[in-house]
């Protein structure tokens, strides 16, 4: 029994779903718009909570999909559904027929410029968590010049009505503390501050990471949202926040400020998503059937979702969903 399953997006979710479907005897086909598979985790250096090299995980996943038909630098240009299933036209004009479709298009990073008060794109030494991850991978970033004081701002573009993102982006608290430890490893004499509203260390080993941050790395966590950033004559950053546990406003000069940018829905799939009749939820991510038992289903029979396209998710969340979507698709194909 060979049945085509079209998987749009070749990140962690798409690759893992493809791997499982192949093991089940179905024929997954991955359509990835960028020039390589891996998605966002291919951009990270080490993963929380265990500081495991992201490359290890990506390489392992790549080795599992090496025999799976994959289109790179390709998007789905059009898609129709009839009684035989789905008929897609790719951006390279090839046509694919499939019995089911999995949307695994993941997320985009909140554009830090939108929170103007943090000065990203205006002041040199304000950077994002994604750029810091790149620094850890390459060891190079002009803005990081033996810094003495480094600050992290949580919830940038999340939990914020002003940017229309009221949700919590879930992984940025843990990422902030992971990166705080890592920057201390590179610059042991630097003072590192994180400015948080709540520390959401939700997974196994994450709270231990918090303890490690405090105990082994002397990172100072200040409860309060940074409200404004300015630059002084020396090009250093002056930030203001309230220390809400102390009950007083606080002012501090920093060499580098890192913005923990939220995950947002990847909108490049919107046209295809609309053609398939799938709406967005109130957070702007893809609407799945329901949050409990129908997390992989959608309003359209035969169209499934997995990974960070429906909400901010960690890698283990994503892998779990990718495996469950494979089961759902298998049952759908076999009318179970």
């Amino acid at each position: 029994m060979k049945e085509n399953i079209l998987i749009i997006g070749g990140g962690a979710a798409g690759m893992e779903a493809a791997t499982q479907l192949q093991k089940m005897g179905l024929t997954p086909i991955i359509v990835e718009k960028s020039e390589n598979l891996g998605g966002h985790i291919a951009q990270w250096d080490r993963l929380f909570p265990a500081f495991h090299p992201a490359k290890d995980v990506v390489d392992q996943m790549l080795s599992q999909v090496k025999d799976i038909k994959t289109y790179l630098n390709t998007e789905v240009a059009d898609i129709q559904k009839d009684n035989d299933g789905f008929h897609a036209v790719l951006s390279n004009n090839e046509k694919i027929d499939a019995k089911a479709v999995i949307l695994a298009t993941g997320f985009d990073i909140f554009k830090a410029e939108r929170k103007q008060e943090y000065g990203y794109g205006i002041y040199n030494n304000v950077m994002t968590s994604v750029e810091l991850e790149k620094f850890f991978r390459t060891g190079k970033d002009e803005r990081i010049n033996n810094p003495k004081k480094i600050g992290f701002v949580h919830c940038v573009g999340a939990r914020d009505v002003k940017v229309c993102n009221t949700y919590c982006s879930k992984v940025c608290c843990t990422t902030a503390l992971k990166q705080a430890c890592e920057i201390k490893e590179v610059f042991p004499d630097a003072e590192v501050y994180t400015f948080y509203m709540d520390l959401r260390m939700f997974g196994p080993g994450y709270e231990d990471l918090y303890l490690k941050t405090q105990k082994d790395f002397d990172v100072k966590c200040v409860r309060g949202r940074v409200c404004e950033v300015s630059e002084n004559m020396d090009g250093k950053l002056v930030i203001k926040a309230e220390d809400t546990l102390f009950g007083k406003p606080l002012k501090m000069t920093l060499d580098v400020l890192i913005l923990m940018c939220a995950m947002e829905k990847n909108k490049s799939i919107d046209t295809i998503q609309q053609k398939l009749g799938i709406a967005d939820n109130s957070d702007g991510f893809m609407q799945n059937k329901d949050m409990y038992l129908g997390m992989n289903g959608t309003a359209q029979d035969g169209v499934f979702v997995a990974g960070a396209c429906t909400a901010p998710k960690s890698l283990p969340d994503t892998i779990g969903e990718a495996r469950s979507v494979a089961t759902q698709v298998f049952n759908y194909i076999n009318n179970k």
């Binding site: 303890l211 405090q214 105990k215 002397d218 100072k220 409860r223 203001k240 220390d243 546990l245 102390f246 007083k248 406003p249 606080l250 002012k251 501090m252 000069t253």
Partner: protein, 103 residues
């Protein structure tokens, strides 16, 4: 000359100007003070806190925000009963730290 008004001092905690010598000395002797999660258990259970403003959680913060004198004043309320040490979820040896601060 008295014009009948004056400038209010800034209420900002100026982190750049804070002298952390005492706190750092305390931290070297008691590394566990870094692990406070500001849960407030110590303050809630405090025998002295029932009648005064005594709060170990705040004392730790005061030392980190340059309010050493205030911290030392607050500590005078402590009766060294040790209840705070019993309830701290991070296992911080609070009673010993209180003694160390006044030493």
């Amino acid at each position: 000359m008295d014009f009948g008004f004056c400038l209010s001092p800034s209420s900002h905690v100026k982190m750049d100007d804070i002298d952390l010598t005492t706190f750092n000395r305390l931290k070297d002797a008691n590394p566990d003070i870094n692990t406070c999660i500001a849960c407030g258990s110590c303050t809630a259970t405090c025998t002295a806190g029932n009648f005064t403003e005594m709060s170990f959680r705040r004392i730790l913060l005061m030392l980190q925000r340059g309010k050493e004198e205030e911290a030392k004043k607050m500590i005078q309320r402590c009766m060294l009963c040790g209840k705070c040490t019993l309830v701290c979820p991070r296992g911080i040896n609070i009673r010993k730290i209180l003694l160390d601060i006044t030493r």
